[in-house]
């Protein structure tokens, strides 16, 4: 039972319950796989002792007949989640050595359900990036490759995507502020869902842009996403924006029957210069859903074009406020001071040393758009445009659309370092199809649907109605069944 590349959360769960394998055996196999995959730089803090203790506890629990779905399942945890006594750095130098005295709600829930933590996963610094190249730990690497070139696994949840695609864990937590679960999932041929804003508690997750951040699972298939998402969801009094709603059984929603469901195809997502492969993938996906009995309808989301510029006001503005706490006083790193330096020099030197260039850039842009004289022109205008973007979605859902199908990304994974000299906006364009979903607070899922000419995976995105992740997962399941994506990266690491 160490054929890790065939195992899923669902099949491991069933095998564990039947006694065909123990969590200790699974955990050992994954710890071995992680050790052999250092070159991917996906895991950045390994926690074998924690994992082994949790696996032993899970095995005892399974034996006693109490086995929640996630019991004994080995996972990777994005470095953005605070894990008690274990380094939690948001891939930033400013949180060097930070070991929280508390556990995030999401990891608490997963561990209470019996899940096993193998270690912490690489990511872009403070989740700001689309290629995992802003991490203080160095680049995470995509297990998919073209020739000798190393590719990005996407970002910000690049380590999570790489680890799941390379079979270093059965599933991973991710977070998504503008596409950070869905874009890396698409780049690595895995599935990732960002739930409705408020579905998953943000407590204990290092904040980037609080009105946009949501955590979600990154897994090998749709069923696994349904299982893991359910364990992560739920009301949390410690997050005032967490929704007090019952959590449905998402796995039970996966019937594959989408007859009569109305699927919207938004014309504004047909971008100028879109690669023909992406266009073809989108058309193929549309045909698949139609063949499954869905009703395909052309729709319009007129403010789509303004989503990225609105996002690049709102997200930096919130980030500049959230990241004000990194001041060298309460946690993390403090810069070495010179004689005579006062508290202002301490702040300025600490933040210059501790934050990388992209984080500094966004904090300063956020500071600017919130500063006196510009607040209305930038920040308030962006919040008005955000309201219009949400209204676009409200209108199509009110007209009877059940889900919206779009490409997940404008391209397949690109080479690490190839965007180094591009201006920041080129990198921002990676999120052009995903960012609208965060601005509108909706659930969105990326499903692998095909390969490009170089043999790299491409994903399609489905966007659902608020709080209807179950329905969304079911449409994704139907698409997955039709697309029949089974390709895996050739092991070279």
């Amino acid at each position: 039972m160490t054929d890790l590349n065939k195992l899923t959360i669902a099949s491991a769960r069933d095998a564990l319950r039947k006694g065909d394998v123990s969590s200790a055996e699974l955990t050992d196999a994954y710890l071995g796989a992680i050790e052999g995959a250092g070159v991917l730089n996906a895991f950045v803090h390994n926690t074998p002792e924690v994992a082994k203790a949790q696996a032993a506890a899970a095995d005892a629990r399974i034996k006693s007949g109490d086995a929640p779905d996630m019991c004994g399942i080995p996972l990777g945890i994005k470095d953005l989640f605070c894990t008690k006594g274990v380094n939690s750095q948001a891939a930033s130098g400013i949180l060097e050595g930070f070991k929280p005295e508390y556990e995030s709600t999401v990891t608490t829930q997963l561990f209470d359900a019996g899940a096993v933590m193998l270690g912490k996963l690489n990511m872009d610094e403070f989740a700001m990036g689309s290629s995992n190249e802003t991490s203080v730990y160095g680049d995470a690497v995509n297990p998919w490759k073209v020739g000798d070139e190393k590719l990005t696994p996407g970002g910000s949840s690049g380590g999570s995507a790489s680890a799941v695609a390379a079979d270093l864990c059965l599933g991973a937590t991710g977070t998504d502020t503008g596409g950070s679960i869905r874009q890396p999932a698409a780049f690595t041929g895995i599935t990732g869902i960002k739930p409705t804003y408020g579905r998953v508690s943000r407590w204990g997750v290092v904040a980037f842009a609080s009105s946009l951040d949501q955590a979600g699972p990154m897994t090998k298939d749709v069923r696994d996403s349904a299982i893991m998402l359910e364990a992560m969801c739920g009301h949390d009094p410690k997050d005032s924006t967490s929704a007090d709603l019952a959590v449905p059984n998402f796995e039970a929603a996966l019937t594959g029957d989408i007859k009569g469901k109305v699927i919207g195809i938004p014309k504004e997502y047909r971008m100028d210069g879109m690669p023909s492969e992406i266009e073809k993938l989108w058309e193929d996906g549309t045909a698949m859903l139609r063949d499954e009995g869905a009703v395909v309808r052309d729709i319009t989301l007129p403010h789509t074009k303004y989503a990225l510029p609105a996002y690049y006001v709102i997200a930096p503005a919130e980030a500049s406020s959230n990241l004000a706490r990194y001041d060298g006083v309460r946690f993390g790193r403090r810069a070495k001071l010179s004689a005579g330096d006062g508290i202002t020099e301490m702040y300025e030197k600490t933040r210059a040393e501790g934050f990388g260039p992209e984080v500094q850039r966004r904090v300063m842009v956020g500071t600017y758009v919130l500063s006196a004289g510009f607040y209305d022109a930038y920040y308030n205008r962006a919040r008005k445009v955000r309201a219009l973007i949400k209204q676009d979605f409200d209108t199509v859902f009110a007209d009877g659309v059940d889900a919206i199908l779009t490409p997940a990304t404008p391209s397949a994974a690109f080479g690490l370092g190839t965007m180094k000299d591009a201006d920041p906006i080129q990198m921002y364009l990676n999120d052009v199809f995903t960012v609208t979903v965060n601005l509108a607070g909706l659930p969105g899922i990326s499903v692998p649907a095909g390969l490009d000419a170089n043999g790299l995976p491409l994903g399609l995105q489905l966007i659902g109605r608020p709080w209807e992740e179950g329905d969304l997962l079911n449409v994704a399941y139907a698409l997955e069944q039709s697309a029949g994506f089974v390709a895996k990266p050739q092991k070279w690491w």
Binding site: D244, Q360, V363, V369, A382
Partner: protein
């Protein structure tokens, strides 16, 4: 809008991030490019639109105004770069 080096210096100061003088022109140029991108928002008709404050139409929950946590001085100070005698320590603030 074009950002000059003085504005870049002022923003860096407001953000409490030390930027050396020789790095300011490049920073100003980056800001100008990003703000140029953002300025597309000026094309949108927003008259009468309320700025979004909450993406889901839910009321924030209330709870009884009582102490629910506390007495965790050690845990609070545990990760401080400099903690002494039960306090966070910082460079001298008062002359």
């Amino acid at each position: 809008m074009s950002i000059d080096t003085d504005t870049a210096r002022r923003v860096a100061k407001l953000a409490r991030i030390k930027v050396e003088d020789d790095a300011l022109p490049a920073l100003a140029q980056e800001f100008s490019a990003i703000l140029g991108f953002i300025e597309q928002l000026n094309e949108v008709e927003v008259d009468g639109v309320e700025p979004m404050t909450s993406v889901t139409p839910q009321r924030l929950k209330r709870r009884v105004d009582v102490v629910t946590d506390g007495s965790q001085q050690d845990a609070v100070l545990k990760n401080a770069p400099d903690a002494r005698e039960g306090f966070f320590a910082v460079p001298k603030v008062v002359e």
